[in-house]
C-alpha cells in the first residue's frame, strides 16, 4: 500500500519540474502543415475548381449550363471515341504484355542488379518518356525512320503505301503501348510478388496439380489486381498529352488535343469555356476509372496481408 502512494508522489514531483509542453505543441504543427495546405489550395484546389468551373460560366461571366452542349458536338464525341479506342487498345496490349513481363521478372532475384535496371527503365519509360518517346518512334517508324527505311530497302515493303498514318491517331498506338507496358509492370508487379509460395505448396499437399494451382488460385487471386491495373492503364492513356502533342502538331483527334486547340485557339472568344467543358468530361471519365481502381486495389491489398 505504502509503496504505491510513494511512487505516485515521486512521479508527480518530477512532472511539476518539467516544462509544460502543451503550449509548445501547436506552433510546431502550424509551421509544418499550414504552408503545405496553403500551397495545395492555391495550386491544386483553385486550378481544379477553375478548370472544372469555366465550363459552367458563359463568356460574360454568368453561370450557365449551355456550355455542356459542346459535349454533344460530333467532333467532340469523335474525339472521346478515338481517345477511348486508343486507350482501350493500348491498355489491353499493355496489360497482357506487362503481365507476361511480370511473370518473367519472378525468375530474377528481387534485389539483383538486373531487376533494379529493369525497374528503373520501366519508371523512365512509363512516366517520363512523353515527348521523347514521340521522337524515338519517329526515328523508328517515321517516314525517315530506321525501320521504315530498312523495310523499304531490304524487304521492299512500304508501310506508308496506304497513307502516312504515323502522324494520325493510329500512329499513337505504338508509342502509347511503349509506355503502357512498363506502367503495367510497375503497377501489377506487387500483386504478382504477393502470391505466397505457401499457396502452391498447400495446393500440392491437398492433391492439386500445378495447373489446378494456376486456375484455381493464381488466376482468381490476381484477377482484381489485373483488372484494376487495366483500368489504370486506360486512365493513363486517356489523359496523356505530351506524346500526342509532339506527334500530331495540327489536329485534335483525341480529347487532350481538343483541349489544346481550345486553349491555343485565337479565333473564337469564350473558347475557354469549351476547354473547361472538355476538362470536365475528361475528369468525369477519370473519376469513374480511379474509383473502380481503388475499390479493386483495396481487395487486392486485403488478400496480400
Amino acid at each position: 500500500m505504502t509503496t504505491l502512494t510513494e511512487g505516485a508522489r515521486r512521479a508527480s514531483s518530477v512532472r511539476d519540474g518539467a516544462v509544460p509542453t502543451r503550449v509548445r505543441r501547436r506552433p510546431a504543427a502550424w509551421w509544418g502543415l499550414t504552408p503545405f495546405a496553403l500551397y495545395v489550395v492555391l495550386f491544386l484546389v483553385v486550378p481544379c475548381a477553375i478548370a472544372l468551373g469555366t465550363g459552367f460560366v458563359s463568356s460574360d461571366g454568368a453561370p450557365t449550363l449551355s456550355g455542356l452542349a459542346a459535349l454533344g458536338d460530333p467532333v467532340v464525341l469523335r474525339a472521346f471515341g478515338s481517345s477511348a479506342l486508343v486507350s482501350g487498345v493500348t491498355a489491353v496490349v499493355g496489360a497482357l504484355v506487362g503481365a507476361v513481363v511480370c511473370w518473367g521478372l519472378t525468375a530474377l532475384r528481387p534485389d539483383g542488379v538486373v531487376r533494379s535496371l529493369i525497374d528503373s527503365a520501366a519508371s523512365v519509360l512509363a512516366q517520363f518518356g512523353g515527348v521523347m518517346l514521340a521522337f524515338a518512334f519517329t526515328a523508328t517508324i517515321g517516314i525517315q525512320g530506321v525501320v521504315t527505311q530498312l523495310l523499304l530497302t531490304r524487304a521492299g515493303v512500304d508501310i506508308f503505301a496506304g497513307g502516312v498514318w504515323f502522324y494520325q491517331v493510329p500512329g499513337l498506338l505504338l508509342p502509347y503501348a511503349y509506355f503502357q507496358v512498363p506502367l503495367m509492370v510497375i503497377v501489377f508487379m506487387p500483386a504478382v510478388t504477393g502470391l505466397k509460395p505457401q499457396w502452391q505448396e498447400a495446393v500440392a499437399t491437398l492433391g492439386g496439380t500445378a495447373r489446378q494451382h494456376l486456375f484455381r488460385v493464381v488466376v482468381p487471386v490476381l484477377a482484381p489486381a489485373f483488372v484494376g491495373s487495366l483500368l489504370l492503364l486506360f486512365a493513363n492513356a486517356f489523359s496523356s498529352y505530351a506524346t500526342a502533342a509532339a506527334l500530331i502538331s495540327q489536329g485534335s483527334q483525341i480529347v487532350p488535343l481538343q483541349i489544346r486547340a481550345a486553349l491555343v485557339s485565337e479565333t473564337v472568344l469564350g473558347r475557354e469555356g469549351v476547354a473547361g467543358v472538355l476538362a470536365l468530361g475528361m475528369v468525369v471519365v477519370m473519376v469513374v476509372l480511379m474509383t473502380l481502381y481503388s475499390l479493386l486495389q483495396r481487395r487486392t491489398e486485403r488478400w496480400q496481408r
Binding site: 505466397k196 505448396e201 500440392a204 499437399t205
Partner: protein, 370 residues
C-alpha cells in the same frame, strides 16, 4: 545418440499413462507407418540433413524439436515431397515415395502462416482438398461442415481468411488438412506465429484431434515445452542429425547429450566427479544415467531437484522471480557458478541471504568436459 522405438519397455512411463502408443495394437485405420532411412539433403554449400533415421508408428505423434537451421523443417518437407532428398529413403507404409509427387502422396500439411486461400471462404478452403479428389458437392459440404464443427468453427464457414484471428486461421488450416483423411499429418511450426495463450489452447486441441483420428503425425517446433506437451515421442535435432529420440519423460530425465540436456528444459550445469557409475555432487551422491566413464564431468540438475537446506553447498541469493506456480531463485555458489532452483513462494529467502543448497534428484545426466 540414443534411439528408442515404440514398444520398447523404456518408452512406457511408470504410471502407464496414455502417452505411449501401443505398437501393433488394434487401432482404427487412420495412420500410415513412416520411415526415414539415412536421409541426406544437400544444398549448394550447405548440408541440411546429414543422415536422418526416424520411424513413425501408425497413429503416433512425433515431434521434431530443434533450433533454427537444424534441419527439422527440411525433414518434414522431404516427407511432404516439397523438397527432394539427395540420398537415402523416405517411405510411407513401406513404399519408397521418392518418385511420388506431392499431390499424390496423400499427406495433410499445416503451414506456419499464410496458407489459407484468400479468395475462398472458410468452407471453400476446407472443401478444396475434397474438390481435388472430385468428391461430389453434397458430400463435400457435409464433410467440410463436420470437420469445421470438430475444430470449433462451425458457424464461421462463410467468412474469409482476413476476417479471422491467427488462431482461427490455423484451425481452418487444420480442418482443411484433415478433411481428406490423409495417411500422414505434417505440422510445420503451426503455433509459432500465435499468441502464448492461444498457442496452449490450440496445441491441446491438435493433440485431441490427432488422437481421435489416430493419424500418424510429424510435428515440427522449436519450442521445447510445446514438444514435450504434445508428443508421444520427441526427436531432438541439431545441425542436420537427430541427437536423441525418446518419450518426453526420457528426454527430460535422461538427456543423452549435452545439447539435449541444455535445450530441453532448464538445467543447472555443475562440475562433478563420477566414480563407479555414481555422481558425486557437493553434499550428495547420486546414480548416474547410463554408464559414464569415471572422472570429472558436467552434471545436469533440474531446478526442481535443488532445495534450500540446513547443510549443503553454500551460496548467496542473487535474484528471486515469482513465476506464479513456483518461485525461482538464483544462488551464486562460486565466481562462475549460478545455481537456479524452483521452490514454493513461502520458502523464499531474501536477496543477499547466505543459504545452503541440497540436491535431490533420483539420478543425474552427465556429459564429458570438453
Amino acid at each position: 545418440m540414443t534411439t528408442t522405438a515404440p514398444g520398447d519397455p523404456t518408452t512406457a512411463s511408470p504410471d502407464g499413462d496414455d502417452r505411449s502408443a501401443p505398437a501393433g495394437a488394434a487401432r482404427p485405420v487412420g495412420g500410415a507407418a513412416v520411415a526415414f532411412r539415412s536421409v541426406v539433403k544437400r544444398y549448394a554449400g550447405h548440408t541440411a540433413l546429414q543422415g536422418v533415421d526416424l520411424d513413425l508408428a501408425p497413429g503416433e505423434l512425433v515431434a521434431l524439436l530443434g533450433p533454427s537451421g537444424c534441419g527439422k523443417t527440411t525433414a518434414l518437407r522431404s516427407l511432404a515431397g516439397l523438397e527432394t532428398v539427395t540420398s537415402g529413403r523416405v517411405t510411407i507404409d513401406g513404399r519408397d515415395v521418392v518418385d511420388v509427387p506431392t499431390h499424390r502422396r496423400d499427406v495433410g500439411m499445416v503451414f506456419q502462416a499464410y496458407s489459407l486461400f484468400p479468395h475462398l471462404t472458410v468452407q471453400q478452403n476446407v472443401e478444396f482438398g475434397l474438390r481435388m479428389r472430385r468428391v461430389g458437392r453434397a458430400e463435400r459440404s457435409t464433410r467440410a461442415g463436420d470437420m469445421l464443427d470438430l475444430v470449433g468453427l462451425g458457424d464461421l464457414g462463410g467468412r474469409f481468411a482476413h476476417q479471422l484471428s491467427g488462431g482461427q486461421q490455423q484451425r481452418v488450416a487444420l480442418a482443411r488438412a484433415l478433411v481428406t483423411r490423409p495417411r500422414v499429418l505434417l505440422l510445420d511450426e503451426p503455433l509459432s506465429a500465435l499468441d502464448a495463450k492461444v498457442r496452449v489452447q490450440l496445441r491441446d486441441e491438435i493433440r485431441r484431434l490427432q488422437r481421435e483420428l489416430a493419424i500418424t503425425t510429424l510435428f515440427v517446433t522449436h519450442d521445447q515445452e510445446e514438444a514435450l506437451a504434445v508428443a508421444d515421442r520427441v526427436a531432438v535435432m541439431r545441425a542436420g542429425t537427430i541427437e536423441q529420440i525418446g518419450s518426453p519423460e526420457e528426454l527430460y530425465a535422461a538427456p543423452a547429450t549435452r545439447f539435449v540436456a541444455e535445450f530441453v528444459g532448464t538445467s543447472n550445469r555443475l562440475r562433478a566427479e563420477v566414480v563407479d557409475g555414481r555422481v558425486r555432487l557437493p553434499g550428495h551422491e547420486v546414480a548416474a544415467v547410463g554408464s559414464p566413464p569415471d572422472g570429472a564431468a558436467w552434471a545436469y540438475v533440474r531446478p526442481e531437484d535443488v532445495a534450500f537446506a540446513d547443510r549443503g553447498l553454500a551460496g548467496v541469493v542473487e535474484g528471486v522471480s515469482f513465476l506464479g506456480a513456483v518461485c525461482r531463485s538464483s544462488v551464486r555458489t562460486g565466481p562462475e557458478t549460478l545455481v537456479v532452483l524452483d521452490h514454493r513462494a513461502d520458502e523464499r529467502r531474501p536477496v543477499g541471504a547466505r543459504v545452503a543448497l541440497a540436491f535431490t534428484p533420483a539420478s543425474v545426466a552427465v556429459a564429458p568436459l570438453d
